[in-house]
Amino acid sequence: MSTTEKKFTAKGGAFLIEETPAQAVFTPEEWTEEQKMIAQTCKDFLEQEVYPKLDEIDDVKGNPELMPQLLDKSGELGLLGTSVPEEYEGFGMNFNTSMLVAEVIGAGYSFAVALSAHTGIGTLPILYYGTEDQKKKYLPKLATGEWKASYCLTEPDSGSDANAAKTKAVLTEDKKHYIINGQKMWITNGGFADIFIVFAKIDDDKNLSAFIIEKDFGGVTMNEEEKKMGIKGSSTRQVFFNDCKVPVENLLSERENGFKIAVNILNIGRIKLAASTIGASKGIIANASQYANERKQFGTSIGSFGAIKHKLAEMAARTYASESAAYRAGQNIDDAYEDMVAGGMDKTEAKLKSVEEFAIECAIMKVHGSETLDYVADEGVQTYGGMGFSADAPMDRSYRDARINRIFEGTNEINRMLTIDMLLKRAMKGKLDLMTPAMNVQKELTSIPDFGSDEDDSLFAKEKKVLSNLKKAGLMISGAAVQKFMQKLSHEQEILMNLADMLIEVYAAESALLRTEKLVGIKGEQACEQQINMSRLYLHRAVEIANKAGKEAIFAFAEGDEQRMMLLGLKRFTKIDPMNLKDVRRSIADHVLEKQAYEF
């Protein structure tokens, strides 16, 4: 990069209104030798300790000690301390490295859930909001795994509506303790946790406060393990606090700051969840492609059938898009952190602010990752046929364990609404200029279409045009919807879902394309044949989804001339040159079948 060229700085949500240079995105092909070694350690751990015991792990009632033992072992390897700074006995890795760990461990079924609840929602509230004393007391024990952590936000009557929690905290007369009473539900790691991060309301406060509760404080009891559809090996309990006496110094952050803590910790949890779904998807692709090679019907391997190839190619391409987008966002978070620290911000604050900056991307990735995994798991089962339905083959567990990801860390509905809500809020705060580009689209709509000269025949020139048009489609419809409903847009959830779908697909398709463009720059077109195929295939999918979502939104609120004009606009903005996707898929699938893995 020449010195006169300004360094590109990504801003949260800005992908919708600006072009990102390919050089500015991080690609997983750039992992350092050290990061690869860390990933290999995670993989070796799963193979040595987790995969041989999957059935025992899932029998959580029969083997309640097994999961904490596995966490201990992973703690010995240092896997519980990746995000914890070195002064608290962790390893102070950057954000993307912790994403990589989440990805690889993500193929570990219930163990992955236990590990991520401990290191994520269990540990991070103390890391980011704890006082120095709290950090010194708890973090070293959490980073090594000596103590296990859980996070207690949800209650029987308070799920998505987290701030409606009823758990109460009352200050004792001597002002030395809070007495906590209440019931928490769906608490991951509940069965063996030593530490509970508990959200409760002090007196008649409107907002939640957060507390660090040690099991030994007394007054902590729990129900039996929940019987679940999947992640059966992950301990999930109802936890009761009966006159639990918590020292005042265990209030986390300030009074009534609990909701903010919950939201910020969930931002991180969401993108990490996406990383972990990528690992799970890759595991399924490896199994399914191997099975497709081995299983013979009609005298040939089922992998030679076009219908199966179609599945494998889609599984790979969607995973590729998810992966490209997740690490792009992860690097943005790392870069923003570095910039903030260089600008003099406190490191802890910078950690939070950098993730907050990309909260839109975090929510997008949560949805994209979990829905990709569900697709991959479903087609994985289908590829296995009857054996997909057998509890003796791996797809059964993959399928059941995948499903939770659309529910926890904020349901996908909540996350879809959040993406649009946060985008509009950023625009209102002046952080993101949606107005100018939206007006430009309006202008473009009433002018003669630009049929464009096809002069630019560089790689992806056409695809980039398609992407830029997709963004216009999103801006056109969201702009019109905002004008129409103003403050009441939040009541039009169906439209919000449509808009979120458009946004999610733009981000995923663009990320895949940028990654491939960067790779081609390094390795040349020939070496990137499948990446090019997957990016193009994914772009077609994004266009399809955006077109459908856009139409539904337009039908839902526009009429007459306005409707006609917007439909014409949508048609124009979701135009893409035809391509023989069948051949593209076959080529991707042949590669996957040859490697018997997601390996490009």
């Binding site: 860390i38 350690t41 010995e76 240092g78």
Partner: protein, 245 residues
């Protein structure tokens, strides 16, 4: 105690094997490399011995710069420093010469390696190094304990086990269950980058054997299923078609 562990840099056990240049060169395209599994056992035991009674573990590899990630993995597992002798490991004799030449004045109490590599499976280097250094070489060592200057070890032999005792120094070609493979931990990985990896020029030696050509085993043929009641047919096929009886 000063231990030298010699490691090979070999294709992953699941790698697809193919050749180029008229079947004279191994095709390393897209192949993942690992520490030779038997060497990995030797390394694990060396690190355990060091942890139990102090000393140092040095890893050595004869190879080009491509092998450095593998060497650094050994450092992450717990070796203290590393030596790479900068040469293509052409044959067992050449490699043994390089190891012996380095080790002869370095004062190691024990030289460990796998009982064989898993690429060429020669299983000769430990013996040759022993010969070149005038030291005993024992393989396959499956149990190894050290008390003072004496080593106690167990070795599998035809139809049974052999328990040996001998004085240091000597050469051990190791295999499981001498130790369990160690997964490098985070601290090891992070400290690996600051450990010393010395690159030495190879000594003058030439290979004793020259490779002519590789050949892949013939592809597996179709499987014929024969009814369990039809032993006669099975015998006939084994005799006439498979020609194995």
């Amino acid at each position: 105690m000063k231990i030298l562990v010699c490691i090979t840099h070999v294709p992953d056990t699941t790698a697809k094997i193919s050749f180029t240049d008229d079947n004279t060169k191994f095709n390393s395209d897209g192949v993942q490399y690992i520490i030779g599994p038997y060497d990995d056992y030797a390394l694990a035991r060396a690190v355990e011995l060091k942890e139990a009674s102090g000393g140092t573990v040095t890893v050595l590899n004869v190879g080009t710069s491509e092998t450095e990630p593998t060497i650094r993995k050994a450092l992450a597992i717990g070796a203290d420093d590393a030596i790479r002798i900068d040469a293509e490991p052409t044959d067992s004799y050449f490699v043994a010469e390089q190891i012996a030449n380095h080790a002869k004045d370095a004062g190691y109490d024990l030289i460990m390696m796998g009982r064989e590599s898993i690429d060429f499976n020669g299983g000769m280097v430990h013996g040759m190094v022993g010969e070149l250094l005038g030291l005993p070489a024992i393989s396959p060592v499956m149990k190894l304990d050290i008390e003072g200057q004496t080593a106690k070890l167990a070795r599998e032999i035809e139809g049974g086990k052999e328990y040996l005792e001998l004085d240091l120094p000597f050469i051990a070609g190791c295999q499981e269950p001498i130790a369990e493979w160690k997964i490098p931990n985070m601290r090891g990985i992070m400290s690996a980058r600051s450990k010393k990896l010395e690159v030495l020029a190879p000594s003058d030696a030439s290979e004793a054997v020259k490779l002519q050509q590789y050949e892949l085993p013939p592809a597996k043929g179709d499987v014929k299923m024969i009814d369990a009641d039809n032993v006669g047919e099975l015998v006939k096929l084994l005799k006439n078609e498979a020609k194995v009886i």
